[in-house]
Symmetry: C2
Subunit: 681 residues, 2 copies
């Protein structure tokens, strides 16, 4: 009991600080009547979408929970944990988004006085998301541990929590991703390209849907994604240590010397990370005449300090619990990998570095060259991430066996409180700019929000790199936990086993199918928006002249319906395929399947995210007045690259993170059932 006190206390602390930040944000001035009106439209659109999305998810969660309740080795306790996990994830996403949609207009107002004030509101608005995610996550796992510890099905109950979180995350990411990119591409194609009006112009009927999309995709979707990584890495490590403590040690790998604390350590590392993150968040501040460099340094100071503090706390935990020091090295490998992977992503996607500058240069020779260069850049960017993860795995395994690999994932994710804050900050700044534009504020306000926004683009890039790197490590930890829980022998799951080979091939294919489905969904929905915006320009008299208002609600509605409809198939495939593979080919083939899916999901995820980021910033570089600037042929080529990159980086790429984790955790939950099953073929 006493051992669980520290994580519980830290979880409550995180939520308390999140509450404090919420009140701080709400106390700020909301701006002019026009700004409030627009902010309200965004809020209403986002709330309407979340409501419908959560309704669909509820039905799905209900169905799965009934099935789980009747499965042997699982029962109502696992079913309850599953529902609890789903609700936790949904609540974390909802809280974060609610504050984000209230921070945008306040940021836009504050920035008129000082950029530091604007940064503070936007960042604290984002921090509510980060802290809700880690607070609810650690509380959820700790409470489950407290209630069900010692239960005969405990090893299925804890993972079921993660499975619930994963399911919500997948739907939120896919649904939000389809929504945000359909609205973005759709309104851009008609607005910028056909009608020749600027981005975020109030005459564009799709513009509110676009701003809603930023919140439901980049904010709520990303939050659910990271919530899931966070709890899953802890759960994987706990399961791994608990199974190993009760059954035979995993062959071929050394485990912890002191088994009693093995399950407890991941919670403690995470708890330390929460304290470190909160300290880091308070360190993010700049002077009043801040420039881009200073802003970036302020954020970096926060995240780097959190990482260093987490490392120190972890060392103390390892030292005082008298755990083998090797475990600390594993945690440290995870923390460092998280930081470096994020920076590597930034290197490949920021136009101040060579790779994306080359893409920007290519816009001068037309769209084909832009496309070829950007895609090549995305592929090339897998190099540092993959090598870093491979090194982290090697080091963690060397010092602490497979337990080390799992706890390295926990180490990487322990600073999530602040890294998610920096990511959730992005859509707030983006929205602030949109609101400033739409409510006709002076041009210099938009310039200031643009600085905040471009900072948001950098943090988004590092955040995505971090998300994909942590997803790979977490998936790996889950696969290890799965093989342990399914009692798969080290020697059985050999690459020379034909079933493993078949599993690898099928698994490797699945992320590609998933990407194809989500890309097609964006394409379908975006072109419904194109048609709707075109229709409104044609049918509403005075719209182009600014004397009439477009029907924003129609576009919001189209996006909502279409994305809800489109998220089901990819979601169901991700949950059912591991079950089918496990039943047909057996648990060993399922292990190969998960490994195959993880490696292509990981490499494909990086490629799509960074190719997209690179095209986006190449276009921004041209828009900043280079190579002919806006409206030039180079710009048109840049817009085409960005158009392909949008669903790459904001729908398909990030969804892959969740997909590989979801498939692994479904397998982990079903492991006790599959363990004595050899497959039909």
């Amino acid at each position: 009991m006493s051992t669980i006190l520290a994580p519980l206390a830290c979880g409550i602390f995180a939520l308390a600080v999140a509450g404090f930040f919420s009140f701080y944000v709400l106390r700020q001035e909301p701006g002019t009547a026009k700004m409030i009106e627009i902010a309200n439209a965004i809020k209403e659109g986002a709330t309407a979408f979340m409501k419908r999305e959560y309704t669909v998810i509820s039905v799905f969660v209900l169905v799965i929970s009934v099935i789980l309740a009747f499965l042997p080795n699982l029962g109502w306790q696992a079913s309850l944990a599953f529902v609890f996990g789903a609700i936790s994830s949904a609540v974390a996403g909802y809280i974060g988004m609610s504050i984000a949609v209230r921070s945008n207009n306040r940021t836009g107002t504050a920035v008129q006085k000082s950029i530091n004030k604007g940064l503070k509101i936007a960042f604290r608005g984002g921090a509510v998301m980060g802290l809700s995610v880690v607070g609810i996550g650690i509380l959820g796992v700790s409470i489950l541990y407290l209630v069900f510890n010692g239960h005969v099905n405990f090893l299925s109950i804890i993972p079921a929590y993660g499975m619930g979180a994963s399911s919500v995350a997948l739907f939120a990411r896919v649904g939000g991703g389809i929504y945000t990119k359909s609205a973005d591409i759709g309104s851009d194609l008609v607005g910028k390209v056909e009608a020749g009006i600027p981005e975020d112009d109030p005459r564009n009927a799709g513009v509110i849907a676009d701003l809603v999309g930023d919140n439901v995709g980049d904010c709520a979707g990303a939050g659910a994604d990271l919530f899931e990584s966070y709890v899953s890495s802890i759960i994987a490590t706990m399961t791994l240590s608990l199974v190993a403590a009760t059954t035979i040690a995993i062959s071929g790998n050394a485990l912890l010397p002191n088994q009693q604390v093995a399950w407890y350590l991941p919670l403690l590392v995470a708890a330390g990370g929460i304290v470190a993150s909160i300290i880091g968040i308070f360190m993010v501040r700049v002077g009043d005449k801040a420039e881009m460099g200073a802003l970036l340094n302020a954020l970096r100071r926060g995240t780097f300090s959190s990482s260093i503090l987490t490392a120190i706390f972890s060392f103390l935990a390892v030292y005082f619990l008298k755990v083998d020091l090797g475990v600390f090295w594993a945690v440290l490998a995870g923390i460092i990998t998280g930081v470096v992977v994020g920076e590597a992503t930034n290197y490949f996607t920021a136009y101040s570095y060579r790779p994306t500058f080359k893409v920007a240069e290519a816009t001068q020779t037309g769209p084909v060259n832009t496309l070829v260069r950007g895609f090549a850049n995305g592929l090339m960017s897998t190099l540092p991430s993959v090598i870093l993860v491979a090194i982290a795995v090697t080091i963690a395994n060397h010092f602490a066996g497979m337990y080390g690999v799992a706890i390295a994932a926990v180490g990487m994710l322990s600073t999530l409180g602040i890294t998610d804050a920096t990511e959730a900050y992005g859509p707030v700044a983006d929205n602030a700019g949109g609101i400033a534009e739409m409510s006709g504020l002076p041009h210099e306000v938009r310039e200031k929000t643009d600085i905040l926004d471009s900072l948001g683009n950098t943090t988004k890039a590092t955040g995505k790199g971090f998300a994909v790197g942590s997803a790979a490590l977490t998936a790996l930890a889950l696969i290890l936990a799965y093989t342990t829980a399914a009692q798969i022998n080290f020697t059985d799951i050999s690459l020379l086993n034909a079933k493993v080979i078949s599993g690898l091939f099928i698994g490797a294919m699945l992320p590609l199918i998933f990407v194809a489905l989500t890309l097609n969904a964006v394409s379908d929905t975006a072109f419904s928006i194109v048609n709707e915006v075109r229709r409104q320009f044609k049918e509403i008299k005075g719209l182009m002249e600014g004397t009439a208002r477009p029907e924003y609600g129609r576009c919001v509605d189209i996006c909502t319906k279409a994305s809800i409809k489109a998220l089901l198939l990819p979601g169901v495939i991700s949950i059912l395929t591991p079950v089918i593979v496990g039943m047909l080919l057996g648990p060993v083939a399922l292990g190969g399947f998960l490994a195959g899916a993880t490696i292509t999901g990981f490499t494909m995820g990086i490629t799509l995210a960074n190719a997209g980021g690179s095209w986006d910033n190449a276009k921004k570089y041209v828009e900043a007045g280079n190579f002919g600037g806006k409206g030039s042929d180079a710009h048109k080529a840049g817009v085409i690259g960005d158009g392909l990159g949008d669903p790459f980086k904001d729908t398909s790429g990030p969804s892959l993170n969740i997909m590989i984790k979801l498939m692994s955790i479904v397998s982990l939950v079903l492991a006790p059932i599959l363990s004595n099953f050899k497959g039909i073929f």
Copy 2:
């Protein structure tokens, strides 16, 4: 000795038929003076390129052969085999291409009399390539067996032959692929888009380079690729059976009951395939008023008959050699997979089917939608190929263990004599059309060659599906042979081994880096061509009016130099990386590395090939007069999709096939050295 007689005889028979076809082609009328002039320009360009390419490859082969000669367990015999393999591949590619560049103008002339006559010449021209490949391949392996059988290093000598062939194949595919696509994209971008002149217009300075590219890429490059798959599948099966006969049986998998014939069977299956292919080739004929459907049926009749005959011959071989019948089922699984994978590719890339029709439809809504749809289609097309290969592996393994998996690859490739003929036919028909256009023949001639050309596009699609499917099976067979030769224990190469995991990740990344490098190379070279064609239009007076001739040679020269320069890095990486991984992380990690590279190389290869094929045919559908036809906005969108697809499908995609096999065979050759080596880390 007597056992090797049948393969030797069949090899000589194949070359005799190839000789007969060569004389047949050369006896035909070469056409008007203008046609001969253009054909000569293509021939000279192609020969000049091959000469320079082979010079570079010779230096490379020499360096590697010296290194091999001094390595322990290898020696001058392995070095000799390596050089022999390289020369065999080069000779096969050269013979095939020499006849192809002499068939194009003759096809263009004959088609004026009858389309059947044109088909016959073009197809026999292509068959010279197919039969040279299988004839030289089976002769090479048989001769090596005859000379070195019983030698202490025999298990390294035979694979070294494959490594030689692989090295040449990689350079030929990458070099030829960069050449052909740079010329194609470069001349199209200026010609079609900027100057508004049709494809193959003689005023375009890049047009000869484009026609040369078809020959050095699609013909010589593809031939070298398939030569390598062909010999490697045989070598992998032989090595696997010979190692297993001399060392302990591979744990966990049943092997052949009768070890003595295990090494001999792959040669016999291949020999049967040669006879079947020759019969099939003679069955390809149509009536005089042939339409597209009849032409396609004629080709299908040939390939299907060859497949059925090969199955019958294999059954007889298995029956009379008293081998377990399970081996026959494995061979059959391979043969069927080859046919079905090819057809599946056609389904995804022909505009008469839904997937590519949807891409064509998307051109109406602009380039972004075209790009998203086409890429999604490429990804989706991995589904049938991966499932089919997984089923083939499962069936082959079920009936004949790992030996079954290897010999399934031999079964699949045994009909290569005819499948390669149908693929090499494509560039001949394409060139015939280009020559007809450039030499000002009447419009109806071009219409006839267009029918032959569009048939070529279908055979190219099925051929590519076949190539990538066979490459996956061959790579798998090579990996199995490698693990056996490196004496890796079944139980060591576990997915739970951290070294295997690291290897998997790094291996999975490498094909993506390879694609990035080749894409960038095409982009660089294509834009040198763009600049050169633009310069000529500007500086040569009367060029646009048709009173002056462009300097074709300059473009040929630029492509040659640039592609030779660009092929080195990807080639060297493919050869060195397995060596580095093996040295640093040890042979077990190298096994994981090869598996990782194979699964992403395979899935990525299919995606790139079919996305490219789909964009190409979507554009062709628009050019046929749909959705506004040539010059419309839909057409422009189609051209952009095709522009990205061109290097996807003709440079990067097919090169991946060779890359994964080359890395596996390098590992196989080095296996005896690595076997007692645990890696530095």
